[in-house]
């Protein structure tokens, strides 16, 4: 199989990132995922397929249903996850500092 998708390209798409967000908390069926979007089932299914090809999502058969869940190993392998975490806190702390500076000047 020569289909080697670029994982970075895969996660650069906002819809695919949103899908990653959804399944980060729990395994979901394709239809359950699609319900969260206004795009067509077909479009979402295409996005899921791309994420699965990159092994960011992994399939799990549960009875008749196929569930998709996150493959954390793959995610860890494709990006430095500390940076978004750091950015999250940096943003928070920047806000804290701004809020307190304002508070300080009002005193």
């Amino acid at each position: 199989m020569e289909l080697r998708r670029d994982v970075f390209q895969a996660i650069a798409d906002p819809t695919r990132r949103a899908i990653i967000t959804l399944v980060a908390f729990q395994a979901m069926t394709p239809s359950a995922i699609a319900e969260n979007f206004t795009s067509s089932r077909q479009t979402i299914s295409k996005h899921i397929q791309i994420l699965a090809e990159c092994e960011i999502l992994q399939q799990e058969q549960n009875g008749r249903e196929i569930y998709y869940q996150l493959n954390p190993k793959k995610l860890k392998a494709i990006a430095d996850f500390i940076e978004p975490f750091r950015n999250l806190w940096d943003d928070r702390f920047n806000k804290l500092e701004a809020v307190m500076k304002k508070y300080q000047s009002e005193q």
Partner: protein, 155 residues
């Protein structure tokens, strides 16, 4: 002064450190953690409960632009020493993540500046690594929420 947030997470350990220096006196930095109105401003969350005392508890709630609760968290205070430290637990409701233990140290630095060190201990290495991965997803959520807000104002 380097005013950048630093994360120190050693491979294979179930703890991490977050450090940050602030251009604020330590008293104000500490106040940002104990005053509910101020916490709401910088955390972007609703403070349901914030009992700043030993054996007290806290509870935050975050809603989206439509007012739906998207995120609830809470925990207990183990110890609070004004302008010095807060020891508390942190747990996100309705997620598979176990409670974590947080040691917050507030330090006075020169010329009205201060430093915060958060030492967070997780149930397992896997728990920690999973949480480190989460903001990637959460950040997107927040961006969406912000976008929604902006759009709402345009209407």
């Amino acid at each position: 002064m380097e005013r950048k947030t630093k994360i120190h997470a050693e491979e294979g350990k179930q703890e991490l450190f977050i450090t940050r220096e602030f251009d604020l006196p330590v008293e104000l930095l500490f106040r940002a953690y104990i005053d509910p109105e101020i916490v709401e401003q910088w955390m972007g969350t609703r403070v349901l409960k914030l009992e700043n005392k030993k054996h007290g508890s806290w509870q935050f709630e975050t809603s989206d632009a439509q007012g739906n609760v998207v995120f609830q968290s809470g925990g207990a205070f183990h110890d609070i020493v004004p302008n010095q430290k807060i020891i508390r637990t942190f747990e996100m409701d309705n997620t598979p993540f176990a409670a974590q233990l947080e040691f917050l140290e507030f330090e006075k630095l020169m010329n009205g500046t201060s430093k915060l060190t958060m030492h967070i201990i997780f149930k397992s290495v896997a728990d920690r690594d999973q949480l480190l991965q989460l903001p990637f997803a959460q950040g997107i959520n927040m961006a969406h929420n912000r976008l929604e807000e902006v759009v709402m104002h345009l209407k």
